[in-house]
Every structure is written in C-alpha cells, then in structure tokens.
Assembly symmetry: C2
Homo-oligomer: 204 residues x 2
DNA sequence: TAGATTGTTAATCGATTAACAATC
DNA sequence: TAGATTGTTAATCGATTAACAATC
C-alpha cells in the first residue's frame, strides 16, 4: 500500500482536506469523489486513485464520510497534532503571518519571530515579541522547532536557511524571491507573488 | 514551434527568469543550462528542452547570453510591459502586498486597493487610498485592469471573484483558503500558507 | 583545433483517464 | 432489489532523462 507515494499526490491531499473541512463546517456528512472533484477542480477518478494509495476510505453507493476522511487525511499529513513554527523576518509579511488566525485549526502555531533590526527587536507583534536573530539557532534547537517561514529580503534568505538547517528545521516556507539550497532531507515550499503572477500573464 | 505549450513548462519560466535577473544584477553575462539548473534545482536537460520550445536561445560551447535570454523570457511571459493590478481586501496581507516594492521590476504595478469596511475605506496604504468595494467593478473595467489579487476572508472570496470576472479580470492571485470557480479563460493561482505547510509535514 | 555546450531525438518513466466489476 | 459510487485495472497520455550529433 503506502510504499512510495509521489509528491504530486501528497500535494493534492491538503487541497482535499481544506475542502472537506469547509464542508464539515457546513454540516455536510458525506461527499462523493464526483462532488469533491467539482469543488476542487480535480477529476473524480484522480481523487479516488489518490485516496486509494492510503486505504479504502469510501463506501460504494454513498461516497466518503467526511469526518472520517478528515481524520484519515490529518493523520497521513501529520497535522493531527500542532506544529510549532518560527518566523524569520518581522517585515510586512512576517507581521501578517504572525497575526494570521487561521493556522491553528490547520495544524500549526507560530511561537517565535526573529529579526536583525534593532528597531524591531523587542517590539510586540500579535502575541509575540520580536527576538534578536542572533539567538535564533539556539532558541529553535532548544524548542525543537521543525517548521519555519522565511520572510527576509532575498539577499539574506540563503544565510537564514543555512542557520535554520543548522538548528534542525526540516520544513521551510520561503517568501523570499530566491531558490534555497538545502540538504535533501529539508523540504522547501516557495511563495512569490510575482512568480505566481508571471505564470498567468502568458495566457493574457 | 510554439504550438501548444504545457502549463508545467510555463510555470518554470518565471523561475528561470528570476534566477537570470539575479545573475544579471551580479553582472554575469553568460550561463550554461548546467549552471542555471543547479541554481534553480532543475535538470539541465529540462531547461534546454523547455527553452527550445520557444526558439534557439543558446550557443554551443558557451551557453546562454543572460540579457538576451531575459529579454526573450520577458516577451514570452508578456512581462516586457507593466500590468496594472487591483488588490481586494485591505487586511494584513493586502497591506503587505500594497507596500511591497518588488513588483515593478517583475512586470506589475498595484494601482488600486478595495475593502468593504467603512473603517478602512479612505485610509492610506502605501501610495494608495483604500476604495469602497462597491465601486470595484466599475473602476476595474474603466481602467482595463486584467490582473487582481484577492486577500479577503474565504467566505467572501467567491463573491469577489465573480465580481472581478464580471469586471473583465483574467488573472487572479487568490490568498483566500478556498478554491475559486471561474470561467475557463480566467486563470487562478493559489497562495495558502497552511496548505503549503501541510504539503511538507508528511515528510517530517 | 580542442573543448564545451546546445538542441533534439529516442527511450524511459510517471501520471491521468476511462471503464467496470464489486458492493454498499 | 435498483441505483449509486467505490477501488482498481488497463489504456492512454504526457513529462523527464539520457545521449549525442551538430556546432560555436
């Protein structure tokens, strides 16, 4: 069964999960692959194939029980727990992330935010106080934080990534517009609005 | 040649472009597919294959002339011009986007920002004043804006998207954690930090 | 010329879709 | 039982890689 799951399938699971949680909040109990597919823009066959990699979660004739499938997907994605997250960079984006209320129910909790600007260090953002980045490696390692977000300028991002790796971080959400070079056991996801926009202008 | 280019190739071009512009800023004149590949985490063969869809941009023995390739990619992606962009939602993320200085050199310029909150309407953000969303469709249509970013809560995002489509927008960068249903000629890109993070926790 | 690197072909690999027996 | 929908197989489709002749 779950021998070696392609990354492209893993990438779709959070999308299914998000749609399922949305349905659950509306009190819907059951969904077919057809209905779910229409809601996320993915074919019903693909959804069934993806889910079948991990078990038999549906029932012929009725579809998928939503609370049950949510539970399964949360376990598969390891978000049936809360991950502590560190934010590096207390600019506008770091600010927005630190104040965002939507993480907790999706499995994450920001617990620290760092910057190197003396004008920002010590200032409150959301429920935190901005900490000096010189203490970052020590703080992250001691707290056992495995997940971090980089919101520093591109020129500093690789250096920050190196420090995060040194501190034991294994998953990085990178908002700096630059590719990060990290060891193979460290995952990186990229968010860059200009890159996303440029992907669409081709079709205009 | 450029008959029907797969979307997955179009998606890599902005990554190449970003790395090339970075190299150009450092004064580098030439790059091989090998070197570029190492910088973006993509195989050299793939880069050559991707670029060859659009023309012969390289030179055997030396590689690619960076300014020349930048020019070509900007033309292909249609970012050899400046696209006006509308932001809908003047919360933390809309705020961060409106103040971000990095768009212009990548082909974009935010020119308006909307909200429905009377407490926000009329207030300045960056170089703009927040406008009432009731004037959005008219303003966007008159200005001929084709590109927009949605930073409203999930509950309002589909309604906003419908209005943007009505106003003639063809490319939407959606920060709301929900799938948008739009006509086939409208492109959507999704940015949702929790979804991106959940894509990585599987491997932890 | 010798060395390097492209553009492209063919082979491989992987992902998606269609279809349907199984079964709720 | 009749209708609906899953899980899975086989077929199709598409993307990536390896390799090398062409050529700067």
């Amino acid at each position: 069964m779950a021998s070696r799951i392609p990354d492209i399938i893993i990438g779709r699971l959070p999308i299914y999960l998000r749609a399922l949680q949305h349905l659950a909040e509306q009190g819907v109990q059951t969904v077919s692959s057809q209905e779910l597919g229409e809601r996320v823009g993915i074919s019903a066959a693909q959804i069934r194939k993806d889910l079948s990699q991990f078990g038999e979660f549906g029932k012929q004739g009725t579809g998928y029980n939503i609370p049950f499938l949510i539970e399964k997907l949360r376990a598969i994605l390891k978000v049936d727990r809360i991950w502590d997250v560190a934010v590096v960079g207390a600019g506008d984006i770091g600010h927005a992330l630190a104040r965002y209320q939507g993480f907790f129910k999706r499995g994450f909790r920001i617990i620290m935010i760092f910057d190197n600007d003396p004008a920002k260090i010590g200032k409150p953002i959301g429920d935190f106080v901005v900490e000096d980045v010189v203490h970052m490696v020590e703080r992250i390692r001691l707290a056992g934080v495995k997940v971090a977000m980089i919101t520093v300028p591109a020129s500093a991002a690789q250096h920050v990534a190196d420090k995060l790796v040194e501190a034991g971080v294994k998953a990085i959400l990178n908002y700096a517009p630059i590719h990060l070079d990290v060891p193979p056991d460290v995952k990186v996801q990229y968010v860059d609005p200009a890159t996303h926009l440029q992907r669409m202008t081709y079709y205009l």
